[in-house]
């Protein structure tokens, strides 16, 4: 399975014209390539690509580190990175549906894929020249043929996304950006509830005590420094976020 996902209808996640792609053709399946990939694997513990390289499978060159930037645009790039991850995940889910996917599940997962692509494509045009490039993802730990693996990964992504938007709102300076983030996060909340209802139907799980504090009725809010380590195993491209705004003390 390739890590360079693309949706059925959107542009490639990695720009075909980038220097990465041209460099790629120069990398042969030699011991040198294997060593290089191994080094990447060592830097990125979530990646299993090193094993692929040692087995002689093709390895895509690792992108150079991407920095999210500063200020409101940095926060929006942070959201864009998360939406890229979600869109790539659901695109893969619908490209290789798990066995036994019901028509009801297919309808939900297709809509969620479309919504995440909408979010991704919106950020891409909204950020324009300030947009980070398409990120490479790493889904080697996900079994796309397993309902359990797919739905629990979806649950994790949605709940993490909600907490990320909830924690990032305070970092934005411009009200218009806060409003757009608000328009997206409630849809993520709807996704989370739907996925959770597929996992444990008609129960309290859609807004379970594990994510919604039972004493306060509040969903989690996480700062970027808390969110990025949670998603790092799924993002192959190294991402740095040192210039993002910090919450006021």
């Amino acid at each position: 399975m390739t890590n360079n996902f693309r949706s059925d209808d959107a542009e490639p996640l990695v720009d075909e014209n980038s220097s990465l792609q041209s460099r790629r053709s120069f990398i042969k399946l030699s011991s040198a390539a294997a060593l290089t990939a191994f080094a990447f694997g060592a830097l990125n513990p979530g990646s299993l690509r090193a094993n692929d390289a040692l087995l002689g499978l093709p390895v895509e060159p690792l992108q150079k580190a991407v920095d999210l930037g500063k200020g409101d645009f940095g926060v929006l790039n942070y959201a864009y990175a998360l939406e890229q991850l979600e869109a790539a995940f659901y695109s893969q889910v619908m490209s290789t549906p798990y066995s036994g996917m019901t028509s009801a599940e297919r309808a939900i997962l297709t809509d969620i894929r479309d919504n995440e692509i909408a979010h991704r494509e919106f950020f891409k045009v909204a950020l324009g020249k300030k947009a980070i490039p398409a990120l490479q993802v790493n889904f080697t730990t996900i079994d796309f043929n397993s309902r359990d693996s797919v739905l629990n990964t979806a649950r994790t992504f949605e709940d993490t996304g909600i907490s990320a938007y909830n924690g990032a709102g305070q970092l934005l300076k411009k009200g218009a950006f806060l409003l757009i983030a608000g328009k997206i996060v409630s849809v993520e909340g709807r996704h989370a509830a739907a996925i959770r209802d597929l996992l444990q139907p008609n129960s309290a799980y859609f807004s379970g005590d594990d994510v919604t504090d039972p004493a306060t009725g509040l969903d989690k809010a996480r700062l970027p420094a808390e969110v990025l380590p949670l998603v790092a195993p799924y993002i192959r491209t190294p991402v740095t976020a040192n210039k993002l705004p910090k919450p006021k003390a």
Binding site: E116, Q170, N202, T216, L218
Partner: protein, 262 residues
């Protein structure tokens, strides 16, 4: 459940610690950790420090919080009444509404604690909306319909007020943390009604006509000047359902006002 129960009797110490420690100086966080087993009064002092003194909250923020509190009063009393209405909610969805009710109770308590003496009183509600939903506590389908309308309205109401809370990061974040919970509620109730969890266009689906105001404007497909429907792979359906839209305070009060006795 007593609506007047102070927040801090219901709040877990870990939560106060987490919320406050993140934002307060380390010394204060240390103090708190040591104070976990002490009185509610000291939790109250810490919560005051976390949100800003109640009597120093700007009037604009007080107004927003009282607006939110009014909606939470509405939802809270609605679900507690429903859960207390024998035979209304089938056994297999009792857990769903028990969970929603638990959250609305907590939201009322939380907002009241932040507002302190500035909290508005609970209005007198008429959940039949003057007879439009006469069997709301006798007919499960009517109850579900009103529930969906309340939850989808709540999501839009919080979204519309976020910008008015930007001067107080703690309160803004708390409002966002409620907002996403209302979205979870809305999605779940919509599923119970056989609707998509997300709002497609400005469709009220199978809800009765008087609820259309809850969905007006949801068909928007333009965000931040970008025509989302025209982006690669997009169309109007996706562009509308992928983004929820806000309502103004006036729009929300026009909807909620149908359920408030004059």
């Amino acid at each position: 459940m007593d609506n007047n129960k102070p927040l801090l009797e219901t709040v877990e110490p870990e939560y106060i610690s987490e919320m406050t420690a993140r934002r307060e100086p380390i010394e204060k966080a240390k103090l708190m950790t040591g104070a976990m087993a002490t009185t509610i009064v000291s939790f109250g002092a810490l919560a005051g420090a976390a949100y800003g003194q109640n009597n120093k909250l700007p009037g604009k923020i007080v107004d927003v919080l009282n607006f939110a509190l009014t909606l939470e009063y509405l939802e809270d009393e609605f679900y507690r009444t429903a859960l207390g209405s024998s035979g209304l909610i089938p056994r297999d969805t009792q857990d769903v509404f028990g969970q929603i009710s638990k959250h609305e109770v907590a939201h009322v308590a939380l907002l009241r604690s932040v507002l302190g003496s500035k909290a508005v009183a609970k209005p007198n509600f008429d959940f039949t909306a003057g007879g439009a939903f006469a069997d709301v506590f006798r007919n499960y389908q009517t109850f579900l319909a009103v529930s969906q309308a309340f939850e989808d309205t709540g999501v839009r109401a919080y979204k519309g007020q976020a910008g008015n809370l930007m001067k107080n990061d703690k309160i803004l974040t708390t409002a966002l943390q409620i907002h996403s919970v209302e979205a979870r509620h809305a999605a779940m109730v919509r599923r119970l009604r056989g609707e998509t969890p997300w709002i497609v266009g400005d469709s009220r689906g199978t809800l009765p006509a008087p609820t259309q105001a809850v969905y007006n404007g949801e068909g928007n497909t333009s965000q931040g000047g970008a025509d989302v429907a025209g982006l690669p792979g997009m169309n109007a359906k996706i562009a509308s359902q992928a983004f929820d839209e806000p309502l103004t305070k006036e729009q929300v009060l026009a909807i909620a006002g149908l359920f408030i006795r004059k």
